[in-house]
């Protein structure tokens, strides 16, 4: 446990050291001023703009920005769907994989365009190499970039003086060319060095030492792994994801994966502070998210080390079921906490096999959906709770609530309320529906409270655009393919529209000067209140479901 603790602490320290430089770099990327970056990336980007027909300096109001997001995402989703449906007759298919069914293709297209990366297929025997490239790796870049652009646009609205959130296409292109591509390239090189395959050649048939015949699948895994974590995507080349030795061969790759997942979501919060010219505010939000993260990490860390009482009595200490021996308990616990905090969704251990208390952690983080969260979206969800906290606290100091000098009024509360409402709705309603119908229950592999957790986890993962699976549940049915597909789309786009509408509304508001009567939102006190409001509203919403799932399961275990 002591060694495990040191490993975890070391990884977190590395992340913290990278937050400031990366955050500062991000601000430069999205800033309006000319920087040295323009000389390196400018020419290539301008070529892209010309190809896309984008006018670089065209400003977009919030409606136009949302329109651009929706239109571009719709076109891309259509492309993904077609590639998956027709992959059997398209090139780059060395293993002769057939076309994907309609429901599964819809689910997969929805999954990757929304940055969820929920996989109801197994990559090694469900996708051609072209699909892996065009339908998986390509949207891993664009969906992450879309999330980034969204967050940047929202921040511009917060500090803006007019309804000008920037240009979506420029933000999209810049985040790919200046952040995701260079970073992925570096990471991929390192991963290949660590032994991850990167080849266009198909599977190989080998004779093992025992003389048995075995088919070993391989492919362009290194490049996918890099963007998978840098872009908090999570969809693996293989069905078993980062538990597979070709995706995550060594403790070093494991650490790089973890650092990559946390790198941009954490740095973005710092960048937020820089962009609003209030670093303290950035750190206040960072602290709130960070403290919740640490609590979650501690819960899963301790519960997995404690393991199961009955087995403990039999001499088996700690819960190693579903975990890889090369990672052990601590690295598995950290990976689980990080992958659901940053809504990546890759796994290096089977979440179904976590102790019941431990399994609350990934679910809770996805239910809150703002413990750093995925690219951009996590920050936005955090700011959504911040707006609610500002509203309640603002009333308590006797002024119309304001954040960064902009008044939070009926319209903003209404829009924030929509974003707040949609998340529990698309988790709880489909879960209830699944549990009430045969189509839903027939996929469950374990009965009782654990079975409830399987379904709850699946829809939570979809709604939070996380993509990790509890496993156990057979999600490749029409019911779950379509159901989770819709949940992913609603989960992403409804809150995107609502949040950008808030940004548009705030952008045109008069800025109220700060006085001693103004509620300060960058103090430890406010951070504490923010944490309480995130936890209380989250807990109040999901407590009954969790009580019937993992909590009941935990309490039923012999002590």
């Amino acid at each position: 446990m002591g060694m495990g603790f040191i490993q975890v602490a070391l990884t977190l320290v590395i992340i913290m050291l990278l937050v400031k430089p990366v955050g500062t770099y991000m601000v430069k990327v999205f800033g309006q001023e000319k920087t040295w970056l323009d000389r390196i990336f400018g020419p290539g980007e301008r070529l892209l703009y010309r190809l896309m027909g984008v006018r670089e300096n065209e400003a977009m109001g919030w409606k136009k920005y949302v329109g651009a997001i929706l239109a571009s995402n719709f076109v891309m989703m259509l492309l993904l769907y077609l590639v998956l449906r027709l992959q059997g007759s398209l090139p780059l298919n060395p293993d002769g994989i057939g076309n994907m069914g309609a429901a599964q293709a819809f689910n997969t297209a929805a999954s990757f365009i929304t940055n969820t990366n929920w996989q109801s297929y197994s990559g090694e025997n469900g996708l051609s190499y072209l699909s892996q490239l065009l339908a998986i790796t390509f949207p891993m870049f664009t969906s992450a970039a879309t999330g980034f652009a969204l967050a940047i646009a929202f921040i511009r609205g917060l500090v803006g003086r007019q309804d000008n959130l920037g240009n979506f296409y420029v933000d999209l292109v810049r985040s790919i060319t200046r952040i995701f591509l260079p970073l992925s390239f570096l990471v991929a090189l390192f991963l290949v060095f660590q032994g991850i395959p990167q080849t266009f050649q198909g599977a190989v048939d080998v004779t093992t030492l025992e003389g048995a015949k075995q088919t070993i699948t391989r492919g362009l895994i290194g490049s996918l792994e890099a963007i998978k974590h840098v872009g908090t995507n999570g969809g693996g080349w293989f069905g078993t994801n980062a538990a597979h030795p070709f995706e995550n061969p060594t403790p070093l790759t494991n650490m790089v994966h973890i650092v990559c997942m946390m790198l941009l979501p954490t740095s973005l919060v710092y960048a937020f502070g820089l962009m609003i010219r209030n670093k303290k505010q950035g750190w206040a939000v960072f602290t709130a998210m960070g403290l919740i993260f640490l609590v979650m990490l501690s819960v899963i860390f301790v519960s997995e080390y404690r393991g199961v009482a009955a087995l403990d009595a039999a001499g088996v200490h700690g819960n190693m079921e579903g975990k890889e021996v090369r990672f052990g308990i601590s690295e598995s616990a950290l990976f689980t906490t990080v992958t659901t905090a940053a809504t990546t969704g890759s796994v290096n251990n089977m979440h179904e096999s976590l102790t019941p208390l431990g399994s609350i952690v990934p679910m809770a983080e996805m239910m809150l959906n703002n413990v750093f969260g995925g690219k951009g979206v996590g920050l936005l969800n955090g700011l959504l709770y911040l707006i609610l906290s500002v509203f309640i606290c603002g009333l308590m100091v006797g002024r119309t609530p304001e954040f960064l000098g902009k008044k939070i009024e009926g319209k903003e509360v209404k829009l924030a309320a929509i974003a707040l409402l949609i998340h529990p709705f698309i988790i709880l309603a489909p879960t209830a529906l699944a549990l009430a119908t045969n189509a839903g229950t027939s996929s469950i592999s374990n009965g009782g409270t654990h079975g409830l957790s399987e379904v709850l986890y699946a829809f939570t993962s979809g709604a939070a655009n996380n993509g990790s699976a509890f496993a156990g549940l057979n999600a490749n049915t029409d019911f779950y393919n379509i159901g989770i597909g819709l949940v992913m789309l609603f989960g992403r786009y409804i809150s995107i529209i609502a949040m950008l509408a808030i940004a548009g509304s705030l952008a045109v508001k008069r800025v109220v000067p700060v006085t001693t009567g103004t509620l300060r939102t960058n103090t430890p006190l406010f951070t504490g209140i923010l944490i309480m409001i995130i936890l209380v509203i989250g807990a109040l919403t999901f407590f009954p479901a969790l009580a019937l799932g993992p909590i009941a399961e935990h309490l039923a275990m012999p002590h």
Partner: protein, 679 residues
Amino acid sequence: MSTRKSLITKEIASQAVIDAFKKLNPAVMIKNPVMFIVEVGTVITLLLSISPDLFGADHVGRGYDVAVFLILLFTVLFGNFAEALAEGRGKAQADTLRRTKSETMAKVLLKDGTMKQVPSTQLKKGDIVRVDTGEIIPTDGEIIEGLASIDESAITGESAPVIKEAGGDFSSVTGGTRVASDYIIMKVMTDPGESFLDRMISLVEGAKRQKTPNEIALTTLLAVLTMIFIIVIITMVPMSKYLNVDLDIATLIALLVCLIPTTIGALLSAIGIAGMDRVTQFNVLAMSGKAVEAAGDIDTLILDKTGTITYGNRMAAEFTPVKGVTQQEITFVALQSSVKDETPEGRSIVELANKQGGVWANKEYDSAEIIEFTAETRMSGLDLPGGVKIRKGAVDAIKKYVSALGGVIPNDLEEIANRIARAGGTPLAVAAGNRIVGVIYLKDTVKPGLKERFAELRAMGIKTIMCTGDNPLTAATIALEAGVDDFIAEAKPEDKIAAIKKEQQEGKLVAMTGDGTNDAPALAQADVGLAMNSGTMAAKEAANMIDLDSDPTKLLSVVSIGKQLLITRGALTTFSIANDIAKYFAIIPAMFILAMPQLDAMNIMHLASPKSAILSALIFNAIIIPLLIPIAMKGVKYRSSTADSLLTRNVLLYGVGGVIVPFVGIKLIDLILHGLSLV
């Protein structure tokens, strides 16, 4: 309306009980989404009480259904009662006002000079009416002839009559008030049904009450929380069915009602009405709740110096002789100059001279010729029978006057005058013949306690700006003495508007007080304009609040009330949401205890039985509403301090308190229920 201070009378309370039942009408309830849901739950449990098997086999028994029904009914009634109680006070006031309004006959002067009796309700704008001693003024208007003392107690509650006269800023009269002496001829300024009294009645009655912006935002938030909990409760049914637990309807409704923010939902409109009412109790009429709320948001207060910050009547404080003149002489000449001066300044000079031992025989001056003050000469005085001309007036006016008579200007005159001006006073030079003897120091006194209030405002983040016609020197001194943050000297009405606009451009909300006609545009420009009732019709119409006592410092109290209104809403919302934690721990284990005995570990309050747990939580949820009515009506305690310290205090009190109180309350109720073997 002098009875305003008495809070809740028996009649108001009993009327509120009746109204609480009347408000059960679903068409009324639906305006409050949270309580409407509770009412729907009440109806369903009523149906269950009548026919327990209505929605499938009943496992809990009719007694339990009836108990849940009754508690829910009381929850709704408590909420209605709170609202009715808050409205009741306004209604009682409106009734008093209506009695004043009872129809009177007015004497309309026709063009041919004859008089005609017309019922007051038929008076139109522009009619000329004569009102004699003892008669009620039929409607609002401006005096065009005459001077009378008017008894305004019907509206202001103040029994001392006020003087109103034609012309100037004190010419407006209000319908319903009474001419105490003399007579007036007035021009009707409003059409029937639009008079001040009519507006006042509809305001205090809350008939046209519109939800304020913050109230709308909060209602939205509460409605969404309610919707979330409805989703939570409905989805629990199939989830538990999957685990082979059948939840009964009454318990689900009980849980839902416990979770949705009923406490704040029930009290929300009462808080708003009571807030308006508190303003009314201060004898300030707010034209809308929005104005009161805006008062809480004020960043800048623009205050007139005269009347608001200082008493306005300048008093003599000192007589300063010029070189070569004795103190005795200046005192005597100053006294001479003012014996016939009936202005407050004049009287204060006589008073001060008497105090300093100046004696005079009134008779001596009976034959003196009085020289009145005119704006042109800017002097006044006496021509004594002996030929000596005594003058007092503005320093430069006297200088000019004396020079014209061939007199010499003393060297130290300028210095004395400047010293007085620097100290915030007004220097009046005094001359006997062509000789200047000295200077009277007129001092404007700052009202006591204002400095402390301005300091409080500063702590609250509110900037105060003093507006005065004085010169910059005088203004600076008074500003320092009063402790305002900024001042505008030699201010003309348009300067006031410019100052307001400048502040507003910086994004600030500005409040101001005013009474004169030339204040009207500024009152309209300000976000909160408080007009004095003594002021002109134009000022009153431009403002969004009217102070019936004509006390400009009231603005400070209105700001506090506005803040208190928001704080009360925020505090009770926090309390309401924080309560849910304990309720979960009471109800969730109780619901599943039979099917999943392991969940008893969550019964941390060790409640006696599942039924007792659910009913205790529900009873707590109901009785907390009447218990909090006093807070809703009076508003939470508000001290002016910084936002941070306010937040700390209220979060501890209503947030942390809101988590702890229900744990204690539910356990207590459970002990009582169990002790009495009710469950």
